[in-house]
């Protein structure tokens, strides 16, 4: 596990906001030279603390107006393998994230769709036909915010 100092925390926070900032610009902000900043960022990447980057896209402008979170319970535990379910569910393009969870559901899925009618199509044709799928609970996303976390 990597121990962070104040500058590392600041760099992480800044990159989580905007990963396109150059080492030079970040260095000026934190009072470091460009090479020193670059080395710190490289260290964070090598330690796996920075796992990569993600585009921040406006889903609505791209025609994806609806995001629904599904809680999925498997009906026939033991008979259908988790691997079969996971392989099939990750192959659905509209399913953006899949989490294996413990609690009242077995899986938590983030599903994006053009509108409610499109979501219904994905739900009926793709999700409800998955191997072993049982109870499904749907919650429509209204808003979401990412927080900086404990930095």
């Amino acid at each position: 596990m990597m121990e962070l100092d104040e500058v590392d925390r600041g760099l992480l926070k800044a990159l989580a906001e905007d990963a396109t900032q150059s080492a030079g610009a970040l260095g000026r902000r934190f009072g470091l030279s460009q090479p020193a900043t670059w080395r710190r960022i490289k260290r964070l990447k090598d330690a796996g603390v920075i796992a990569g980057r993600k585009l921040d896209l406006d889903a609505e402008k791209l025609g994806f107006g609806v995001t629904v979170f599904l809680g999925v319970k498997l009906a026939t535990k033991g008979r259908v393998s988790l691997e079969d379910f996971e392989r099939a569910v990750t192959a659905i393009p509209e399913v953006q994230t899949v989490e294996h969870v413990l609690g009242m559901y077995d899986y938590r899925l983030r599903v994006t769709a053009r509108d409610i009618a499109d979501f219904e199509r994905v739900l009926r044709r793709r999700v409800m036909t998955l191997p072993g799928v049982g109870d499904v609970e749907a919650n429509v996303l209204l808003s979401e915010e990412r927080r900086p976390g404990p930095l």
Partner: protein, 139 residues
């Protein structure tokens, strides 16, 4: 770009069969239109010692009209909350909470979560594994 945000502009231009400068202008345009709002570094909290991630599904007491605002404002004050989502459905709000281990989680849960205002019901889902996490849009 979604599949590999680290790909360089010339490589991406090569793949799309266009010149780098034309591609650059296209990307600028997507940014101007705010379709592409930016790029964020993904922090792997596990590498920082946060081994536990719990999804807390909260139902609020909606008889109080200020319930949502007051709950959300207080939840933002908790450092270990990394995501806040509101929903239409059986669940009103979901918080993603990270912790170093189970006893740390227990401490956050008792001292900070249970003291949040207007909670009617709360359910926890503990993450075992992230099977798919890229959050790609099927464009």
């Amino acid at each position: 770009m979604q599949a590999d945000p680290d790909m360089s502009l010339p490589d991406l231009a090569d793949r799309l069969g266009m010149t780098s400068s034309r591609l650059g202008r296209r990307i600028d345009k997507l940014q101007e239109m705010k379709v592409l709002r930016g790029q964020r570094a993904v922090i792997n909290w596990r590498a920082l010692g946060y081994a536990v991630e719990v999804s807390l599904r909260v139902t609020l007491d909606k008889t109080n009209p200020r319930a949502f605002d007051e709950f959300l404002a207080a939840a933002r004050e908790i450092g270990e909350v990394i995501e806040i989502q509101t929903f239409l459905g059986r669940v009103d709000v979901r918080l993603s909470v990270i912790a170093r281990d189970m006893s740390h989680y227990q401490d956050i849960y008792r001292r900070h979560i249970l003291t949040l205002p207007h909670i009617a019901d709360i359910e926890a889902l503990m993450q075992v594994a992230a099977i798919k996490a890229e959050e790609t849009l099927p464009i």
